[in-house]
């Protein structure tokens, strides 16, 4: 896979009413899946995000980078309303998924989370069998009607997550018995099984060794063709490798966003420049 993608030709498409978000990565073939406007997040009295406006393209990987505590995970958790589960957290602003505001009262967070799957920093499979882990989401959403359908769904999900070959003969053993990298792929399979439109990944490789990381990155690259993926990462090399669009957060603000190649080669903001060259963060 190419380490960096040259998206400079896409730069020509006019930036619409946002200054920070320069362009839609990948050019016009990528429709906007998520449109965030003036998102502010407060944890109690503390403001964690300040007026973040960002467009996330469909069928592409968007990386959120920035130093620790800059609000990138907070922004990620706004998309599937996981912040709702934190006491004292309030979210202001609009986040549109296919034009619908996810914070709208008519949107049920449970259904939203079926459309927007999430993979967490630490692999967190349920302490159940591998099969049950993948089948759980489908079960609670009533996606399958028969046992064979469910089995087929588990198989395809595990295949998509690149785990089928390793676990096909031990589907009924505990998911917690797998290695860290396998667990993380199991968790991805679990997210895929609900057939989401968006997959959010919160530092999915930070607990993994380099080989497992490479495997996950490969997987992300494969999944890009079917899903809109947003990934938070601390590794700039990873952002450069897997993403088509990159957004740089600093101190709760979105400093700069644009095609990955451009952010890494030609950042406009000096803070972005400092961060990607390793001067802080």
């Amino acid at each position: 896979m190419p380490a960096q993608r040259d998206d400079s030709q896409a730069h020509g498409s006019a930036p619409v009413h946002i200054t920070v978000d320069r362009a839609h990565a990948g050019g016009p073939q990528h429709a906007i899946k998520i449109r965030a406007r003036d998102v502010n997040v407060f944890y109690g009295d503390k403001q964690a995000l300040f007026d973040v406006s960002l467009d996330v393209p469909e069928k592409a990987v968007t990386a959120l980078i920035g130093p620790s505590g800059c609000g990138k995970s907070t922004f990620l958790r706004c998309i599937n309303r996981m912040n709702d589960t934190i006491p004292g957290a309030t979210v202001r602003g609009r986040i549109e998924l296919d034009g619908e505001d996810v914070n709208d009262r008519a949107i049920d967070p449970v259904i939203l989370r079926g459309r927007v799957g999430m993979v967490f920093q630490k692999p967190n499979p349920f302490p159940k069998t591998i099969f049950e882990n993948v089948a759980y989401g489908a079960r609670i959403h009533g996606l399958t009607t028969s046992k064979s359908e469910l089995e087929a769904l588990v198989e395809t999900s595990l295949k998509k997550a690149g785990l089928w070959g390793e676990v096909a003969d031990r589907l009924h053993q505990p998911g917690t018995g797998l290695s860290g990298g396998q667990q993380q792929r199991l968790v991805i399979a679990r997210a895929i099984a609900v057939s989401p439109e968006v997959i959010l990944m919160d530092e999915p490789c930070s607990a993994l060794d380099p080989i497992a990381t490479a495997r996950i990155e490969e997987l992300i690259d494969e999944l890009r063709n079917q899903y809109c993926i947003v990934i938070v990462t601390h590794s700039m090399a990873q952002a450069a490798r897997v993403s088509q669009k990159t957004a740089f957060f600093h101190l709760g603000k979105l400093v700069e966003a644009g095609p990955t190649g451009e952010i890494f080669t030609n950042p406009r903001d000096s803070r972005t420049q400092d961060y990607i060259t390793g001067r802080f963060g």
Binding site: T85, R113, G117, F126, G137, I140, V187, A191
Partner: protein, 430 residues
Amino acid sequence: MTDGALPKDKTAFRQGLETRLKKRYAQERRFRLYGQLAIVFALGFLVMLVGRIGLQGYSTFIDYQVTQTIYVDPAKVNAADIVGSNFDRLVAEQMLARMGETDDESGEASGKMMDIISNDFGYQLLEMVRDDPSLIGKQVTLSGPVKADAALYYKGELKRSTPQDERKLDDRQLTWLDKMQASGAVSKGFNLDFLTKSDSTEPEQAGVLGAVVGSAMMLLVTAVLAVPIGVLAATYLEEFAPKNRWTDLIEVNINNLAAVPSIVYGLLGLAVFINWMHVPRSSPLVGGLVLALMALPTVIIATRSALKAVPPSIREAALGVGASRTQTVFHHVLPLAMPGVMTGAILSLAHALGETAPLLMIGMISFVPGVPEGFTGAATVLPVQVFIWENASERAFHERTAAAILVLLAFMIIMNLAAILLRRRFERRW
């Protein structure tokens, strides 16, 4: 040598290092010694406690049965009024006759005999003759226990060497006991009656069955009420309730309730359940209600800490795939917390099992010579039985007190074993 800076003189540093190292090792050895001493101390007390109760109580499980053929003398039984006949005296006279003695006119000898053999003989004979009057004039074989004082003599606790006026049985009675034993009529055996009979005014016929069944029924009521209510309350408070001043207040109060002396729950039960709701006093139902109130805070606290110990990543995982809050809690969090919940619940039930004070408040102190007839029938429970027997004047009840404590301990050990097994079962699901 100063802190933080590297020492200049290396030999001084090395020497200092050695002394510090020695000091550290000595400290560690000392601490281990303290720990071992504490364990020896605790184990010593446990051995003393169980040993003393065991020594005091084991003799209860030995009993002496007399088997004797009795001639149902037509002269002594009024065929027209069988129930009105004095079978106790008939048996006593027959026992005397087997030893070649005859009753005197005043009935003094048979009276003395009645003091060493259980009146169970009389009951048995009465029932047999009542059911089959043709037995009058025939010989029947009866067996039953000796009286508790006589058993104490056989066990060696009542000695002939004690002056006659300081012991309960006189020389004549002791001679009879010796004769009976010599004739082979007395057999030593396991006192099954203690486990299959209920309380009685006669110590040799008193057993713990009524109390064991009473305890089990009461505990069932407690478990059925306290565990589901406690677990659900804790789940609501921990997983659903907003964290605000009201829930803080509730939490503080639950913690306080766990520390309220148990007798206060007894008073509450008396006022609310008996005087206001008219639940029958002294019943397993009212006892279970009171103990459920008492166990509830403990169950809630144990469940809450078990829920808190479930890693948040599991909640996030479930919410992340689109489970609702209720699904998250009931499919993932609560099952993972189950071992802790079970341990807490069974510990608080074991605590409730040993509780006496609140039960005295709700009238469980009464003498109940049988197995409770139902959840609203009169019942007694093991700790109260221990309390009643301990206060009895007959010496034979005191060994029964210890034996009842042994039964109570066995009950608790069985419960704790059940707790461990249940926890293992749940934990096997990782």
